[in-house]
Symmetry: C2
Subunit: 537 residues, 2 copies
Amino acid sequence: MYSEKVPEAIDLSHHLSEVSKARAISPLKGLQKYMTKPGLITMAGGTPSPEYFPFSTVSGETLVTESFPLTTQSSSSFSWFWKLFGTGAGKKEKTTTFTINKWPAHTGDLNLATALQYSPATGLAALQKIIQEFSEKVYQPGYKNFTTLIDAGNTDGWGRAALTLLNQGDGVLCSEWTYPSALAGIRPWGVKTVPIAMDGQGMRSDSLRETLASWNEAERGFKRPHVMYIIPVGQNPTGATMEAQRKKEIYDICVEFDVIIVEDDPYYFLQQSPYVPKDQRTDEDAFSSTSAEEKFIAQLAPSFLKFDYQGRVIRLDTFSKTVAPGCRLGWYTCNPQFAERLERAGETSTAAPCGFSQVMVASLLLNWHYEGYIRWLRGLRLQYEQRRDAFIDALADAFQLDMGIEINGHRKGSLVYHASLKPERQFSEKSSMRYSKPLFSFVPPSSGMFVWLKLNLEEHPSYTAVGYKALEFKLWTALAEHGILFGFGSMFSASAVTDETEGDGHFRISFSSTGHDDMKKAASTFALVLREFMKDQ
Amino acid sequence: MYSEKVPEAIDLSHHLSEVSKARAISPLKGLQKYMTKPGLITMAGGTPSPEYFPFSTVSGETLVTESFPLTTQSSSSFSWFWKLFGTGAGKKEKTTTFTINKWPAHTGDLNLATALQYSPATGLAALQKIIQEFSEKVYQPGYKNFTTLIDAGNTDGWGRAALTLLNQGDGVLCSEWTYPSALAGIRPWGVKTVPIAMDGQGMRSDSLRETLASWNEAERGFKRPHVMYIIPVGQNPTGATMEAQRKKEIYDICVEFDVIIVEDDPYYFLQQSPYVPKDQRTDEDAFSSTSAEEKFIAQLAPSFLKFDYQGRVIRLDTFSKTVAPGCRLGWYTCNPQFAERLERAGETSTAAPCGFSQVMVASLLLNWHYEGYIRWLRGLRLQYEQRRDAFIDALADAFQLDMGIEINGHRKGSLVYHASLKPERQFSEKSSMRYSKPLFSFVPPSSGMFVWLKLNLEEHPSYTAVGYKALEFKLWTALAEHGILFGFGSMFSASAVTDETEGDGHFRISFSSTGHDDMKKAASTFALVLREFMKDQ
């Protein structure tokens, strides 16, 4: 597929951790040359006879790829809301069915005798083939000999990658706001986080260069980091998406300072058109609704892989957001040198991802074909866009929203919506209380599942006395008491937050699974609670 | 259930590794008090809407619990061989079917909306309940507040337990012959193995005491070990099973020297009656064929849990040998202090075991009920016993077998079968070549899937020149060239094996999935190859 001119991965073995280097070579290595012998009698492994697998068949009834429309159909009154939210037990869906038998009818058929048996950490051959082709077609890595390796989802993927690359006391470059579970996975190993400032596209390249170029080991107490953890699309929690130019800049800096990029990209296919206020919204959508899959792919922000001519990107893909989290299935795309070590790390943890899941997801994707899966993803993308719009619409109903361009901080360059309390309808003794600044603001996310709210608590009576952290928690608790659970902002900080830390409070609000009425209730309750909260001593 | 007199687990927190202690508390901890609020609107997590799970239903067609008989039926000529081996695509099996819908028809029903969603590392509540009850009924832990925690099988189970208990440079007590993947999982972390001598019941208590009592840290270079890894039933590779008395002795020593026992017990339900040569075999079987499930359980060697009055046993159970390895599902039974840390370790690796697998296995076990699952296990046990017998019968056909009691070494006290070449039928120039000692010997295993062969290569022409390791490899290769793959013995040694190491070669031969004809062919090919091998310079 790739021409002669496309480079191969360079030697990056100096990045392997002590633990990774100490892992044994594949235990199957010595057997491989005999495994293909015709009529081979294998009495080497502890494999149960598939006779004794109690599952004779497993079946799946699955949605068709066209289950979700490609246009918002806003003109047809609120029918799309029904499609979007009117579901549950009563809904009639169009489905197709597949069945996997224990014994294959034809050589190469998916079958339970293989899928439910022990397998190498590379998983089912059929699934391996699907993900390899998918990565090649969609991400178009910039070097020839990239490889893909199945894993048990991005938590497993990052966990294994981190321990393959990092020694105790090493530092990891990450965005100043980031996914707390990724940090929880490495901190117990004595790995330090090195937060890099962000703007409206996520991690800033100038801050990255500055951090790396000015690294003072004596002052910092540890070596210049050689690993980056980044969520470049629908950044968690900010929702920022990094475009090609910024990715190229960051990649080049990583080449210069010899940094490995771990690209955690669960929200890649949930990329969304810019939010348009309800009264200005049309059927038009930045993502073409009729074009073929190639055009859709071309519209998405590229993966770091596309710029990777050295093999220094470890990309993490997952089926959690595109099929279901319970699949516990995802894959690496990276150079073969890292893939081999990641496979060894898998052998002594998950062994291989679950066979039920592999066979279910492989069947789904084989039935759908590549084109069908892309069609599914296009429908899914729009569903989340509409959910985002529905939640922001609900905020617009509950608050007064004013637009502006952010000129500094981690949202620099973004179109920001500033929210103020609406005038109270009923007169009361405090109804005249107004604040000079909006009480919170947010940037509509460009991908993913979250609205990241920046609170403005400066005018709270206790702000000076207790600081923002205590107020963020107090407001979070007040909302929880009113039956609304938002994500608590401080937990997404890559730096430690103490009572003395200056700053603003934040909430991460997920619009991914809340019904329309609940979204409206959440927004109006938020207004109610916030109004009371601001008066509270 | 437990009386007031049954003790609770003691504080064993000093056993937690630095990494384990550094893990964050549960991220859900702060939310729990609000989670049960009626009408709660949760916008905290990144959970996709189940609307978008493409699976509307999944179904399983499963074998009935009586699929395999409880008696050998040796009298009815070879009909049991047909039942045992005459299977594959053409076989008609008795099955029942279950279906799991996306949306539950009744509260508490298993459903895909929950099973395929993100879940806490404790997994599905229904499965949690099943395994807790199972551990209580079958293993009867000696303390009150034991807990169970789902994992992704024993490789994941041991991996997490090891990193929860062990720091770099620590030692682990293990049997002198043991499962190599368990060691491969800990060695990269700089953990040392401390092999303990074995006899016909597995690890020797006198050797264990001797090792611990005489521990000299300065000489050994590391602290007295405080963790034991042990496979007490159908020991891998030797097939030994440890009875109650020995387990009690080892447990008491572990109390005395403050050692945590990790009991890896995949073969617990494959316990087998003693091997009886074919011509003396009757329908009688040490395991009662008609008694109720309680009697069957009572006949099994007890778990270390039964003697555990302090909570120092971490038992690992798996569905790999009793349902299928591809489930990647198992569970811990241990004290709540360790369980909490193991759960945290799960959150940043597998997250939770695969939802497809959880819902499939939970459905199977809910349909079968406890009694049905025990019935299934009783049938399965006998199947492996018959496979073991069929393979040893094949060896008896291919070799001359002589019985004896082993008086020393790692099989001490066992009934051993010594195998010699049968006289060659056709005269040839070398047909008179005889050896003064049998060429190999084995103890019929009392559980599990393996026959552990001890080779006797002393009379090989090159023995003195090249040593046993080279000869073991040479013979293994000759067999592989003839299309027979055995497990290579040296890889099961807990000590490093070098060219200079003295000893005997070994093979581990699995009888778990090889057909009857292939077993016979393997035995006769082994005789043929061994005959040529012994003449070879």
